[in-house]
Symmetry: C2
Subunit: 384 residues, 2 copies
């Protein structure tokens, strides 16, 4: 996959942790409209702080990402290091440091090896020219098993949107996301880009959870080079949604240790908030996740996960309907022939749980994954 027109990339290993690529700069040919949303964590890192400051102008020239070290909980020195990197990259590109965004991901509580970082920065070309999106996606990976890329062409134009994402653990973005970078060559104004980006993120990356743990480093950024001219805004939003949705589902499916994608749709809800609370309660329940892992149509656990939303007092268990795939499992009890079909469905690599609350008319869909022994194995020995 190729970057949209007007962007170039530089990818390298600069010795952060091992010999895989760990450093990437994606730069536009000139400063361009940009939007970003970030973690709400009270332990957010210096990268998030610096990027928040720099994107306040709704414009940027480039983004630099360092993977395998999150630069989080590193105090004043961590902040100084982040600012030095932004300045270093800006100097190479010949732009103002306030036009460079930064994201980091990896272990918390370690200082960057700054000698390596400085040597690496000196190699950044004045005009990064690689168009290879997969290389960018691979360079930002930590425990991801596959790179995550998606693209769409905006209907009625030649403009494209390309996105990359990383993140498979510590994933429950909260009004923000893990790390995802999107690039478009559509001509779009800053304020419009910002509004559309936030709406799309809210329906996609803010609806995924691997393990209920919100990262300190969540960062979602989009840059628009404008090189491919004007587009219809509604069609732009649709294309952006498709890219973000595809990346969201890739993140859920590659959740640490995951073998199955879980999609939970809650409809007939009082409002969007209720739909999301119930859907998240189901997709985050370890007992639902382990039941899906065991291909066990244990709908009682879905009932439990709905029930524990105890502040939603308008939910009446007599009016709730629960389905696995197309099959109603509550309140209608499944007969034997239905059980066979259900068992076959549960053995697939995607399990859709559909709940109708009958408290209203709003719906929400969220994505997650099953909970497996591999999740334990991966996370019981990560840092030391």
């Amino acid at each position: 996959m190729e970057l949209p027109k007007g962007f170039g990339a530089y990818v390298a290993n600069i010795g952060i942790k091992d010999t895989t690529t760990d450093f990437v700069v994606v730069a536009a040919e000139s400063v361009c409209p940009a939007a970003g949303v970030f973690t709400q964590s009270r332990f957010s890192g210096p990268s998030v702080r610096v990027s928040r400051e720099n994107i306040a102008s709704q414009s940027a020239r480039a983004v630099v990402v360092i993977s395998k070290n999150a630069n989080v909980a590193t105090g004043e020195r961590g902040l100084t290091d982040a600012r030095e990197i932004v300045v270093g990259v800006a100097n190479r590109l010949g732009c103002d440091p306030s036009q460079v965004l930064i994201a980091s991901t990896g272990v918390i509580g370690r200082m960057y090896p700054m000698d390596n970082v400085r040597a690496g920065m000196r190699q950044v070309p004045v005009a990064p020219s690689s168009r290879d999106v997969d290389a960018v996606a691979r360079a930002i990976m930590t425990t991801d098993t596959v790179q995550k890329v998606a693209e769409a062409t905006i209907e009625g134009s030649n403009a494209r949107i390309v996105g990359v994402a990383k993140g498979v653990g510590m994933i429950e973005p909260n009004m923000a996301t893990l790390i995802t970078l999107m690039f478009t060559d559509a001509l779009i104004e800053r304020a419009e880009l910002d509004k559309i980006f936030r709406r799309v993120i809210d329906k996609t990356f803010n609806c995924v959870s691997v393990d209920t743990d919100t990262s300190t480093s969540d960062t979602a950024i989009i840059l628009a080079s404008r090189a491919a001219g004007k587009v219809d805004l509604a069609k732009f939003e649709q294309a952006l949604y498709e890219v973000a949705l595809a990346l969201t589902i890739q993140v859920a499916r590659d959740g640490e240790g995951a073998e199955k994608l879980i999609e939970v749709c809650v409809d007939g809800a009082r409002d969007a908030r209720q739909a999301k609370i119930v859907a998240k309660s189901i997709v985050n329940s370890p007992l639902v996740k382990t039941a899906v892992h065991g291909a066990d149509p244990n709908w009682g656990r879905v009932a439990m996960a709905i029930g524990k939303c105890s502040e939603e007092t308008d939910i009446d268990q007599q009016r709730v309907v629960i389905r696995f795939g197309p099959q109603v499992v509550y309140p209608t009890f499944v007969d034997t022939s239905g059980l066979d079909a259900l068992s076959k469905y549960m053995h697939g690599d995607t399990v859709r749980i559909h709940v109708t609350l009958n408290t209203g008319k709003t719906s929400c869909t969220v994505w997650g994954c099953d909970l497996t022994s591999d999740y334990i194995r991966i996370n019981a020995d990560y840092t030391t």
Copy 2:
């Protein structure tokens, strides 16, 4: 361990699921003060509904527990069955059905095998006379690996409090608890008993979480036979706290698949609510739980779990202190000799995480357990 004076028990297998004991009645010699708190689940079962109605009088004669079947999400028939059991037990004891409490635990969404239950009820003696607390505790177990019992004598008296509890999965009680039954022979008035019981439950069973999943069947009940005479109320509350705390810790340590007890103390908090939100966020984080399982002093995950309490905007990462056991790990970085001690500490069977927020002066302690492959194994194949 023996029941307090004025109580007798009957324990049996009545064929709910297998050949282990699954039916228990504990009766007082006459109607006596009682208190109870129950799940807030929107999918709470008929047992919870019937017990709530019957304990409104703050008095009871007996409690019947059926294990291995929760009688939840069973509709009108489930409710009819629960009422029939209460009537049946009351008839055997010669009391009013409104004086009998009922609790159930086990699989959700299955009807009781009522023929077996009816045959079993016919065997209940008019005056249950067993004093064996361990037999009661074993009869209410489902996936528990050990029975959970505790006792205390009220200082300055001969009165005792004895408690049993069950529950190792679907455990995050919410203003209620799993199933715990307590019995005392102290002479105590109904209103006092209710007040003290609620206060103690809030500091003990409402501070435990195995897996964030709140049961549909949580029930905590205490009966006071008054057979041992008057007691000092403050000393009664202290003794009740000791019994409830001991049971709470037994529940956490026996969490499904658990190998280690995790105790999280948050102090220097703005208020009790903030302390509990942060403590629960830590003890419930799958990444903290897997790090403890791997004996990995990965304090960055504790920082993450504090950080994700994003509505607690007065938490400042520069003022937070994190300790594993006695060892400060943030913000002071541990030197090599400290790391050895820390590693040894993390390999113990109890890990204490102590966080000082420095936003105020309130504290809260909660209990949980590590997350292991056995949790996955146990729960990936439970019903079918």
